[in-house]
């Protein structure tokens, strides 16, 4: 129960849907994140939500392409890494990019902590589940270093099924070919990306603008102790 309502103390699992519409107990919208450590790793998260329709996929694609272009132009040395990025993805490249990156970032976690069954990656809704699970140890590790990826905490539905599939394929292919050349470059590139806001340490933040733009809910208050407030949209992906 890593999420706790700060008003009534009610606990919620990672990926819990109830908290997305406010605390069912008291209606509170302020939650505190309490990393549960290794125990959460083995516990499968709540049933994930259905994939959101790909409303902004073209937006994300256009912008993502532009951003990649800039990155290539700004640092020519990263060209090879960008090419690598395209290898695991099969369909539209960019909306998945961030999620693929987020997923790949979780590769920092030792491989035996990753869910063993590749089937977990096959279907779209389970992607969020697996991403959440594989991400948890990283989170708790980061927590020890006073670093948290807070955007993970108000966990929301995966953006679209295309993205999910691509995350799946990227995760699979990386599992299959751990020693692929350029992987470290790719990983470095991917590690530069994350979801929404990353707290490096109190007072130091890294922001993922596309994620912030794409999200329907938005973070209206951050606190150093791991608390955060999100604005809950009136209608949640009807």
């Amino acid at each position: 129960m890593p999420h706790q309502c700060t008003d009534c103390g009610q606990g919620f699992d990672d990926g819990s849907k109830e908290m997305l519409s406010g605390c069912p107990n008291c209606g509170g919208t302020k939650f505190q994140y309490k990393p549960a450590g290794a125990s959460t790793v083995d516990t499968p998260a709540e049933p994930p939500e259905p994939p959101e329709p790909a409303v902004d996929s073209t937006v994300a694609r256009t912008v993502g392409n532009a951003a990649t272009a800039v990155r290539d132009l700004v640092s020519p040395s990263s060209t090879s890494a960008s090419t690598e990025e395209d290898v695991p993805t099969s369909g539209s490249p960019t909306p998945a990019e961030d999620h693929a990156q987020a997923s790949a970032r979780s590769e920092v976690v030792s491989p035996d902590e990753l869910p063993p069954a590749p089937d977990r990656f096959r279907s779209a809704p389970q992607m969020d589940d697996s991403a959440e699970t594989t991400h948890s140890p990283l989170e708790s590790k980061e927590e020890q270093d006073e670093a948290t990826d807070i955007s993970r905490n108000p966990s929301v539905s995966p953006p679209d099924s295309t993205a999910s599939d691509e995350v799946a394929s990227s995760a699979d292919s990386e599992d299959d070919q751990p020693s692929r050349p350029g992987l470290s470059e790719l990983r470095k590139e991917l590690n530069d990306q994350f979801e929404s806001i990353r707290v490096v340490e109190p007072g130091q933040y890294e922001l993922n603008l596309m994620e912030l733009y794409d999200r329907e809910e938005y973070i209206i208050a951050l606190q150093e102790d791991g608390k955060y407030t999100i604005q809950v949209p009136e209608r949640w992906n009807d």
């Binding site: 700004v74 007072g203 933040y205 603008l209 912030l212």
Partner: protein, 215 residues
Amino acid sequence: MGLLTGLRSSISRAASTLFSDEEPKRIGIYGPPNAGKTTLSNRIVRDWTEHGDAVGPESHIPHETRRARRRENIEIERDGKTVTIDVVDTPGVTTKVDYTEFLEHDMEKEDAVRRSREATEGVAEAMHWLREDVDGVIYVLDSTTDPFTQVNTMLIGIIESQDLPVLILANKIDLEDSSVQRIRNAFPQHETIPLSALEGDNMDEVYDNIAEYFG
């Protein structure tokens, strides 16, 4: 009876046209930190409103504006026509916020950390406004700095993909290092207007373009 119904519908049609004409366009002033967004907002408000209260404090320290601020019903007159806009001054958008940057400005660590946190919330808010709440964008760039950054390209890309009208302003032309051409080269697909919001240089052209793009 038929006449009455016809009359009523024509009145309501006229009224709806009237109201839609009067509905002010909400223009978001976006750009990286320290580009002069608040200075521009203040100048627009001071030029076109009676009392001319400032939208917000201006500062050379980045992230002075950490909440989006709105001024409504600013009437800009051009060629005998009036364009009404709501101006939203937004926090500077960036991909990294680091409190140590503020320590250089004689700030205590605690204040710097708080400023940093508020600035981060501000970026989240600015991105949210961009998604939900603006009808057009004035994108302000500091013409003394390199415009070809990931933040600028990404934001302009989002704005383009939403088909929002956008005007690019090359600010700070009063400074020696200013290069308007560098900004034109970076975003050739958009109109770029040089100005100094601080000095009020070339504001006429800015207002002409605001009226044309957002009227």
